[in-house]
Amino acid sequence: MGSSAATSSATAAATLPDAWRVELFRKSAADDPDGAHLPAAARELGITGLERARLGRGFLLPPALSAEDVARITRELLADPVLDDVRTTPPEQEPHVGAGARVLVARKPGVMDPVALTIERALRKAELVPAGVDVFVSTFHAWELEGALGGAELAELASRVLANDTIESVTLGGEGLHYGRPAPAKLHGRVEVPLLAADDATLLDISQRGALSLNLVEMKAIQAHYAAQGREPSACELETLAQTWSEHCKHKTFAGIVDMDGRRIDNLLKSTIKRATDELDRDWCVSVFHDNAGIIRFDGDWDVCFKVETHNHPSAIDPYGGAGTGIGGVIRDILGVGLGAKPIANTDAFFVGPSDLASEALPKGCMHPRRILRGVVAGVRDYGNRMGIPTVSGGVWFEEGYVANPLVYAGTVGLMPRWAAHKEVHPGDAILVVGGRTGRDGIHGATFSSAELHEESEMVSSAAVQIGDPITEKRVLDGLLRARDLRLYRAVTDCGAGGLSSAVGEMGETCGAEVDLELVPLKYPGLTPEEIWISEAQERMVLAVPPEHLEACMAVFAAEEVEATCIGRFTDSGRLVLRYAGEVVGDMEMAFLHDGTPRPVRRASWTAPDLADPGAPRCDDVARTVLALVGTPNVASKEWIVRQYDHEVQGMSVLKANVGVKSDAPGDGAVLRPLEDSLKGVAITCGANPRYGLLHPGRMALAVIDEALRNAVAVGGDPDHTAILDNFSWGNCDKPDRLGALVLAAEACRDAALAYGTPFISGKDSLNNEYRVGDRSIAIPPTLLISALSIVPDVRRAVSMDAKRAGDLVYVVGLTRAELGGSEHHRVRGLAGGVVPAPDLAAAPALLRALHRAIAGGYVQACHDLSEGGLAVAAAEMAFAGGLGLDVDLARVPATPFPSGYDADTTALFSESCTRFLVEVAPEHQAEFEARLDGLPLGLVGRVRADKVLELRGAGGDVLARLDLGDLRAAHLSSFQG
């Protein structure tokens, strides 16, 4: 990265932009926190010479403006009169510069720049630009750095902190700002791809050169299809097929045929996850699996819906843009489910490498996990907050296996009227594209996300990076929901991976569609028909509008300052016809497009890792181990993330991510009250555990489903009105061991769903999460994120996890077994192997129902699920959250007999067995509470204390540890905090 920064500086030093340049620097260092924080960020990289930094915000304005125009624009819009010093430079002149080394950071041509767009719109609206001037604005950052910095240090600082080379150009100590729109591609009409005479090698070459991600079997199927028609495919047609058949869009692995050690599975998804939903046949399931999100009944005339997506590959290359467009994309899924829902909550989950990874352990071409995590948090923050959707729930997992392949999950919950749950397209309906303009951004995102990353991924895939413009999406949201309520359209879907090709292709699947590509509004001229058709430019939706409502519908969007353009119509031809300036550039059967994908048989096999069970050796220093566990990165505080997300907007908050006397303890899940005239709530929770997945993917799947459900029950959710989503991130499933693990996990999902009576309503998979270095291919740990949406019958009975009152009774509910495989305890003590926790499917559902009845009855003061770190961590968290100590007597913990090699106290404290809770009950409710849990494993282990001490007593009666709450709270903050 450093070398490319140096190169651009050398080549560009002489050029000065033909534009007015305005640079704004804060008058006072106190008003420039970006500058003030930079020396500390530099020190983290080992660069100690940076003494002072200033950030200048720079703007390039049209050269045709007069000096007076520029002064007025600066005064009225760009500069703050209290805070900013202004430096203005006329076109093609040397700028005034301040002290120190200068680093200029600008977006590469064609990369989305939302700030510039906003300025252009504002200048036009306020008429600050004379008529006839082409309003084109660029922005950049000018850093002025003082201190003893070598050239190499400057380059490193620039590439690792100040800029992302993938989307930004950097110049060190020189000029080189680009001003102007990106160069147009060579325009052409219909282009044919010579396929019919191609041999296998040529077919693969065409796929690879075109970044189509089509394998040989698929290329041959396409060849045969066109041979039967006696013609070559057009470029548009081939691109459409590549996008529609991509793993990302078609889920070929999950829908394919698997040979699992000789057992044939025809369509893994249908035979496991979907089958469970079908068999359960819950009457509150409204729409499952076929639309952009799953929909369930909520209350009265209202339904709720939920979707979780991954955005892994883009986030590896540009964490900020990748995560931002990830959340932007899943919000559009919710806007595009049925006739559209109002997004009411966002969720996120990140899986990254260890935060303390040594720099020398970082593989070539990868970013440090800290930079990735900070970037994805900032991406979700800046997109989610601007959308006015509270980000309420989530998680972060740190694990070696994610160093090269970080995972970014983003979810959105929506609220919709019952009449809006379904859509239909009629022939004759107009195809209306609304929202952002189409540019060259995100070309081949669908096929790129289906391929493996490798060392040069940053170079070859930069076109696949998308930058979000949340304010455009917010306008689309405002317009769409208004048009929905006026019933002005019949169907809607989002432009996600695959762009218009995917959206129009899906909507027109059962009827047909024709599109005039030259009508699509462009960010800049010169896109080829193929580029227009498959661009993944963000913030666009496609609507099917009855002709009689077209004018009214467009007026609604116009009132929200949203561009809406009719680009074609749906037909009854069964064909997808694409024209450009009158010429047909594509004409294909919908049936082949959607059903022509070959279904190869993939082999699957799984063998357990060869690891002996280390047991649970007696712990010599329980207090130290508990403190270590409370501070281990997977358990430690995530408050630094939670505080950056607006989790209060829309005013529905009942339980927040962090709870307790200081609002700094980890709650089990978020609860919201979506409707002002109903006391019903929704709980949003999740479960995941990659360390379990490495040891046993099947037991892992059972455990994380249990985790999501017990979190939901802990905060007040009804387990009989809970739906879940599956999101698999896996390695390359062409390899039998990866696919074998997937089969185990999917079958466990089916078993758990049936046992708990909890249907899956939607899901998504991201495969090929592997990183190639030389000959080695490294897969991520098998990662299943389960997200739960649970109805809370009465929000006034929602329960938080903090200890409430001295003297209250403390129970452990659920059975403890010798299950420490993949546990945080084992990680902290350096042990490998062991039995991965899994719920007893015969007993767990009844326990969840019974505990729910006790909570719904109002007999529970506090409830916390037992997960990473087991009983010890749950008790520590409940205590410091409430600012009250606890007594815990391990002799009273309900448990199965432990095998030899398992110390009783160690196992009781640190086992991660599923379906267990720590519950606080007021003495006056003891009888009612115990009656509701009659016959279930229940142990009265102690009481809430009046002082600030957690006292753990061993089965032999001895005090194992006395922990001060202040020390526990400090330990909770002891790992990476942003």
């Binding site: 703050d80 009169p81 300025i119 949340p470 304010i471 907007v649 009942v654």
Partner: protein
């Protein structure tokens, strides 16, 4: 007492209009939510109103600076009508981004004849977005519906809420005019350090009124604390009938209805 009529103004990127409208409705007003562009087209609508609220959010993405683009539009297309509205006794409130917009609009009397402003809202000292509950204390001020000494728990959610002034004289003038309406306090007592003061504002200012007291802006969000269960520690508190933010809006509506006007 007649029912006051309130307008919640929205624009591209505002996102608090629904809960703000609810707060005003629960507070006793008749409420309409309207796009800024519609009011620009029909400024005479102001004649029928007692309350105008600039909703919070990220107007135009806050892409140049918080509230600047909407503020520019206000100055160009609505300033005179709004000035006349306030002069005839109308109340105006800006919450969070609405406050940032009002600062830029000039309605606080802090923009001179040459268009130079002497107050600003800018980056939090922490340099990042902060969503957390804080405690506000009402100050003796010109605003008739602020009861000096009262405290209110309320969430903040912003990245650019640090109130700054051009110079010491500006701050002295704001004090002398009774314009400092709400400040952050530390519930434990003493000088409110971060995070009790979440952004590092001068004099810990969270809310400001104009010299007439009829225009009020504040960074925190009382409309996110209307229900008994919004408070972050409600599960530890006794029975509650409403959130503390509701009284804030109820008093504003009552003032508009004339019952609290001195």
């Amino acid at each position: 007492m007649t029912t006051p009529r309130a307008l919640v103004l929205r624009a591209a990127g505002t996102n608090c209009e629904a809960e703000t409208a609810r707060a005003l409705r629960l507070g006793g007003a008749e409420v309409e939510v309207l796009h800024h562009n519609r009011l620009v087209a029909e400024p005479q609508r102001l004649d029928e109103l007692e309350i105008v609220v600039f909703a919070g959010g990220f107007s135009y993405g806050d892409d140049v600076g918080a509230g600047r683009v909407w503020g520019l539009d206000l100055r160009h297309r609505l300033a005179a009508a709004l000035r006349a509205y306030v002069d005839r006794g109308g109340l105006a409130l800006g919450v969070c981004n609405g406050f940032q917009v009002l600062v830029d609009s000039g309605l606080f009397g802090s923009v001179d004849a040459q268009g130079r402003r002497d107050i600003a809202l800018t980056n939090n000292a922490s340099n990042h977005y902060e969503c957390r509950w804080v405690e506000l204390e009402a100050q003796p001020c010109a605003c008739p519906w602020i009861v000096a000494g009262e405290r209110m728990p309320v969430p903040v959610a912003h990245a650019e809420g640090r109130f700054v002034v051009k110079d010491a004289a500006t701050l002295a003038r704001l004090k002398a005019n009774g314009q400092i309406a709400l400040v952050y306090v530390d519930p434990a007592g003493g000088e409110p350090a971060y995070p009790a003061d979440p952004n590092g504002s001068v004099a810990h200012i969270a809310g400001l009124c104009d010299p007439t007291g009829r225009v009020l802006g504040l960074m925190p969000h009382p409309e996110r604390n209307l229900d008994p269960w919004n408070h972050p520690r409600w599960t530890r508190l006794g029975a509650r009938t409403e959130g503390e933010g509701l009284a804030f809006y109820r008093r504003m509506v009552a003032t508009a209805a004339g019952s609290l006007v001195p």
